[in-house]
Amino acid sequence: MASSSNDAPHYYVPHQTIWPFMMSVGLTGLVLGFIHYLNGDSGTFLMLAGAGLLIYTLFRWFGEVISESEGRQYGKWEDGSFRLGMSWFIFSEVMFFAAFFGALFYARTLSVPWLGGAGEEAETHNLLWNTYQAIWPTNGPADVGGEFEAMPAWGLPAINTLLLLSSGATVTWAHHALKANNRQHLIYGLAATVGLGFLFVILQAVEYSHAYHEMNLTLHSGIYGSTFYMLTGFHGMHVTLGAIILTVVLFRAIKGHFTPQNHFAFEAAAWYWHFVDVVWLGLFIFVYWL
């Protein structure tokens, strides 16, 4: 930080920008379209227009940041803010998943056993569903969604675990290559990571299709189906987002961006990827395995 007043570093404060406002317009359009759809009206156009504007704005906004970065506008000081920003953003994502993991744990350790008669005063069991036995996986005492099969851990999910763990390794390989200024290996490592990431998403789509068509495991399958799809679904969306981020980083690497010393965007993408990876491990253990 600053040591004397004259040669003190200058923090980069960007000029006026319209992109944040446009992001709000796009996001509001997207959400309003979805609201219309949920209320039974047609909101498709609004949704698409909003999404289009959102994507365009993101493109321009990030484009501006990237050209500032390539134009050497950012030093160590700005870099520190970006790092803090990304870390705390990832922390907020962790807390988002915590809400759904909390729901899963609450259902498995408290509410489902109570429905099955655990505890002394579980009147729902005595008065409403006295034949219900609390065995996980369950779709509840009213058999919501009809009979279903639970997703076994050691088929596709185990393969997906391997895919994500390897992608964590390949992104580290790319990082080492970047620091050693080995551009070729950087690009190979990134390409492998992106490939593994999208392969994961495809396999998960296969898994969902299998669950819907052959196992009658749907969003409607009581608390098991709810927690299963909510947790794996939001995780899948995060994998998709992470893979898109890594794709941008890959294209930037191909264009010759990043130096061995200065490559925050790469690191942020890698942090995000590792976060997605760790969430998956939690999912694999608590949703599929135990």
């Binding site: 930080m1 600053a2 007043s5 509410s111 489902v112 969003l219 709810s226 909510m230």
Partner: protein
Amino acid sequence: MNAQAVQHADHDHHDHGPAKGWMRWLTTTNHKDIGTLYLWFSLLMFFVGGTMALVIRAELFQPGLQLVQPEFFNQMTTMHALVMIFLAVMPAFVGLANWMIPLMIGAPDMALPRMNNWSFWILPFASTMLISTLFVDGGAPAGGWTMYPPLVLQTGAAFPMLIFSVHLLGISSIMGSINIIATIMNLRAPGMTYMKMPLFVWTWFITAYLLIATMPVLAGAVTMLLTDKYFGTSFFNAAGGGDPVMFQHIFWFFGHPEVYILILPAFGIVSQIIPTFARKPLFGYSSMVYATASIAFLSFIVWAHHMFTVGMPVAAEVFFMMATMLIAVPTGVKVFNWVSTMWKGAMTFETPMLFAIGFVVMFSIGGFSGLMLAIAPADFQYHDTYFVVAHFHYVLVPGAVFAIMASVYYWLPKWCGHMYDEKLGQIHFWLSAIFVNVLFFPQHFIGLAGMPRRIPDYAVQFADFNMISSIGAFGFGFSQLMFAYIVIKAVRGGKQATDQVWEGAQGLEWTLSSPPPYHSFSVQPHIK
């Protein structure tokens, strides 16, 4: 804290003044502009939410149904809470953080200025979405701001609007908080160690952490409501193995830290103002910091005290009761420190100080009734009565809102360069302080006598105190027009404020001119 502020003329090519015309406000990346936007927005919403409160109090002026339908009454209670919490008090605090934190820590601006703009510019869209629910089929949400299922799932066309406006407001708060944390951790002037930071900065530092930790949990909770209603999930449906009580647990895991989000920055403000007008340094600075951190920590393990009557194992009732009462310890530390700061001080009573002292006294009343509510067996009686309403309004109105007003009087001369009208300010304080007690104090009595909250009609034995309370409400509400008048008058002109503004004021923000230059601290000062 001695600061050598070095003020440089802006020769650097990076520096630029505000853009011309109204586009300035859409495109600004300047922390002062964005702070100003937040504060005006908050003031507007304060009157919107206040109008809703007056509809409630007008209906309750007499027993029987007078003015509005019960359904609309319920919409008013729900919307009043949502507007006041998410659109008035929280944006006011974020606006103050935007304006003051860079000035107080000697930073050039906020750490992430473009994102800062976005944090604000989500708000007008989200709030329009929320408030326009009043005009859709089925009316606005009417099941209470806590959105408990299954009741909230009966909301009409407003339901998805409610859910998504909460999502948007959450995005805004999370980004605002990330920005505040990054600014505090990365942009402090050389020599300003953590334990030299002004207390307002400290309390916001901890508040931002609470926001980042809990807003995503609220987002998860309302997402589950959305899928339960539209996509056939069973999170809160016992028939499918879920549990409506689970929503309450997840909601209050957010909701209780949210309570401290609404009060910790107020603690910070009061800790800035009292030393200035007592002309003594804050008593027990480090204990204030540790007390704030303790309150934040405890706020994560007390949530179920909002749910004592819902049905929980006895062990849980006891745990949450004990943990809740523990909060009185760090809060007591704070109150005693404020009082000790004033002890033998050379005190003067300008408007900010009046509001700050009003805060200490009346926040403590709200704290004491909170302690009563913490006792689980007693809460079985108090739950969902007007006693609860009186309790949280004491901590939020003469608590949080008084602190915000104190801060506006305290910093307004710095912001706009003009002194406000001191005489009018003092009249505003006394009207507010008297009417707020006329408004809320009788609610303790009718609550203890058994009047439930969120009802448009009531038994005749509650009539007298309700009438008094309604008179207080209208008195308090109309007194606030004075506040808007005083602020606008000061912005438009008035006696030129000095740099230091207040004789006893200490800190970096007072070393700058009033108003400060568009870009302050382009070169950081050194803190000894």
